[in-house]
Subunit: 500 residues, 2 copies
């Protein structure tokens, strides 16, 4: 493929994707394919000879597209959003066109420096304390990780290394093989599965502590857990607090957890993967009160900001904690010395190589401007509030807990089994996509404003569809109130077990 063909192929792809977004409402949000559909539809072997790009786009339209769940569709209300924007798609074209690897400053100075700069930009817009920024006088700064999972793992590993160093320093007779199995990490029972997985990956015990009735991990609970473990000879090492839990978008009170962590010399990592974007708007910053007591914070710019996956923005109070934990220097990585201000990001992350991801963050921030980013967050919250109002207007339904950010949790008052059936029926129709959650042992449906394209009409569409399905279901006599209590317990246990 020569440059001329690339121009044609690339521009055709641009048009195809613009058309896709413009007409995205024409697709059912969920695809109508069976497992194996694509594997069976395409050749089992790579072509021997080069093929024409026109044939690739034809296959893309005819075979790939029917198997897509449309995350950018205004009818996608599942999980949390995955961000995207025209601006950052183009940013990524520049990234791929250059195809540089920013493993050190010299390996492409602009790659490292634009990341330093844009993470400062974003950190300031979020109102982070200055010590988390590269432009502070201290060793803090931001980095783009691939995902919140990676950020959690990085924090756990840095905390482990730091704790081992602290303990062996105070008692040189202890070695790391003795210390490591005693280290404990803590999070809440509302944490994302990736946090729990982080414990598995980091080989650290991870305790899921009980939250209060609002889904928040409280300082007292954490303190008691520390004391309990210390009395058993264990060593508290790291706490992962949640700002915006996956289940109900609850916010752990950092102003309670922070002092407990600081006093016990325990690393406090803040997972604000989704809801962190809300701090773009000053009116929500009270929800991160105490952030200055944390050691690291992660906000997925690729979730609730219009930045295409992957772009997980992580800030550290002390970058050296990572460098000490991860540095393995080699002669072929020898580099000219840079000023302290410019990090060698390869020591701040798991892989050695790194893409020029700052470009897509940079293009998105410039095309939207700070006001555009704030508007995006506020508009989505307004839409969620509107949906909650619609649900409340129907007395068969209950919104519980209170709508938080772009998330509305709701259920049928009639009980778990009908609510579950309702979700199943809706999913089968493929018009809108939501997923289940649980709140205080009850089955509920999570409705999230995900797409940047979602408008009031789309929310109306979703609500009408939900109501229609509820009408159909309530006329079905199989589900009677009499059956509910017993079934409820089974379902509740099932949910509970699956949540583990």
């Amino acid at each position: 493929m020569d440059a001329q063909q690339f121009r044609e192929f690339g521009k055709a792809a641009i048009d195809l994707m613009a058309d896709y977004v413009e007409n995205i409402r024409d697709h059912d949000v969920l695809p109508s394919v069976e497992p194996g559909y694509l594997i069976n539809a395409l050749p089992q072997d790579a072509p021997e000879h080069p093929e024409a790009w026109q044939d690739i786009l034809k296959d893309f339209n005819q075979t790939i597209m029917p198997g897509i769940t449309h995350w950018q569709s205004p009818q996608f209300h599942a999980f949390y959003p995955t961000g995207s924007s025209y601006a950052s798609i183009v940013g990524n074209i520049l990234c791929d066109g250059l195809s540089v690897i920013g493993l050190s400053w010299l390996s492409s100075p602009a790659c490292t420096e634009l990341e330093v700069l844009t993470l400062n930009w974003l950190g300031k817009l979020l109102g982070l304390p200055e010590e988390f920024l590269h432009c502070s006088s201290g060793p803090g700064g931001g980095i783009i990780q691939g995902s919140a999972s990676e950020a959690t793992l990085v924090a756990l590993l840095a905390a482990k290394d730091k704790t081992v160093r602290r303990i062996t320093k105070s008692d040189p007779t202890l070695d790391e093989d003795y210390i490591k199995p005693k280290l404990v990490a803590y999070t809440s029972d509302q944490c994302n599965s990736s946090v729990e997985k982080g414990g598995l990956l980091a080989s650290m015990k991870m305790r899921l502590l009980k939250t209060d009735s609002d889904g928040r991990l409280r300082g007292e609970t954490l303190k008691n857990a520390f004391e309990e473990d210390i009395s058993q000879g264990l060593i508290p090492c790291c706490v992962i607090a949640n700002l915006g839990t996956t289940g109900t978008c609850a916010f752990d009170p950092l102003y309670e957890l922070g002092p407990v962590c600081n006093e016990a010399d325990v690393w406090l990592h803040v997972d604000a993967a989704y809801a962190g974007a809300a701090f773009l708007c000053p009116e929500y910053r009270h929800l991160m009160r105490g952030i200055e007591l944390s050691d690291s914070i992660d906000v997925n710019a690729h979730k609730w900001m219009p930045v295409t996956f992957d772009c997980s923005a992580m800030w550290l109070k002390n970058g050296y904690d990572l460098v000490r934990a991860f540095n393995v220097q080699r002669i072929y990585l020898d580099d000219i010395k840079t000023e302290n201000k410019i990090p060698d990001y390869r020591h701040w992350q798991i892989p050695l190589g790194r893409r020029f991801r700052a470009l897509k963050l940079w293009t998105a921030m410039r095309i939207y401007g700070a006001e555009g980013l704030r508007k995006h967050v506020r508009d989505q919250i307004t839409l969620a509030q509107y949906f909650a109002k619609l649900v409340r207007s129907d007395d068969r339904f209950l919104v519980e807990p209170e709508q938080s950010m772009g998330l509305v949790c709701f259920r049928l008052k009639e009980g778990d089994i009908v609510t579950k059936k309702l979700l199943e029926n809706i999913t089968e129709k493929k018009k809108i996509y939501m997923v289940a959650g649980s709140y205080n042992g009850r089955y509920m449906i999570r409705f999230v404003i995900c797409s940047r394209l979602t408008k009031k009409e789309d929310v109306d569409f979703a609500w009408t569809h939900i109501k229609d399905e509820a009408n159909l279901l309530c006329s079905d006599k199989v589900h009677t109130k009499a059956q509910l209590p017993a079934i409820n317990q089974i379902v509740a246990r099932e949910i509970c077990e699956k949540s583990k």
Copy 2:
């Protein structure tokens, strides 16, 4: 930014990148900027209001571009290549345009299935044993990881989990806290830094075993290490073999390491990040003899294949080993049951989210065809052989060890200090980019055919430049033979220490 503006911005970016590649020889391969150049050149805060895309491209050209080290330049001969191609840049536009997250089959069936399919395609083209493919009757299959570092970490963690399960099963009185600190991983002293870092990240002791004079880890050495450790109460857990070491592109004999690992129930992971692409060509497959004895293998399609970073292809003999190690099921991830043949890739990797990376692999394989991919590898080896011949024609130089794949290691016979000085002078001129290595304690320069654009004329250009610099250097009387022996020792120690 609306769809129309996206069409304009996107197409301008396509043209810009096509122009960039077409005129890439106009740039010095290394940039002429000082640390901080970009941070100081751009505004310290994000813009408050939206900006025009034309201004972004202007800044890209004026401030980003001067700070780029051109990895795709034909004059880039450092490290190993990072792959890119027009075809896979477009594949990634489609990926970004859809912006789906393939965390489960339902979350976008095509995303999972195209990955299954293309990893089968590639596995077959590389001549991997059938049991590594999804289309076999067994539990094997391929997955795209972000990097070889990630693949190594995944293998180490799966090996750790499997070993702990095996031992606690045979002796239920032992618990994992007792077992884990005793686990040992092994690789060679020629391994990439990312392998050593993998040991750090996985909290596993990593022994770098001595290689033979050809840089290969031998079976006997490994066997002795196992015995030594077992006699000290340690537990061999995982071996990372190198097919194509970073320093000299040496190939560990899997047919020796495999039986030793299999007998001791130790996981054998094969890091073929760069050189694995050579197995596209049957004439090089003898270098992976014994591959059927391994548990996992990783080949960076984004290194020596024309696939844009990141696309690290990893195959496992038993995917369940990963699922058992990484599975943390949650209710919001509940999915319809898929046939066994279709993996839930989130359990095969570190993060929860995953991009539709198979698209860029698919477009590249179709645009090149199998014959195009083989031609790419063979052409690059031919160019390396040509460069080695040029170096040998000048009796001031020595090629040592023998050229391997796209890598030629060479040095000035006069000694380490002059060779080092030569590389420094060349790097300062910024015309070609190479990095240092060491071989049997001697300082040497690594010259790699990296760019897909490199032609014979580019190799001539590089060699002429190297010769010219050597002429300048040899006329400089500061470096006399008399000085060399003492300095050599210092340099050798320095290299050695930095390699640790």
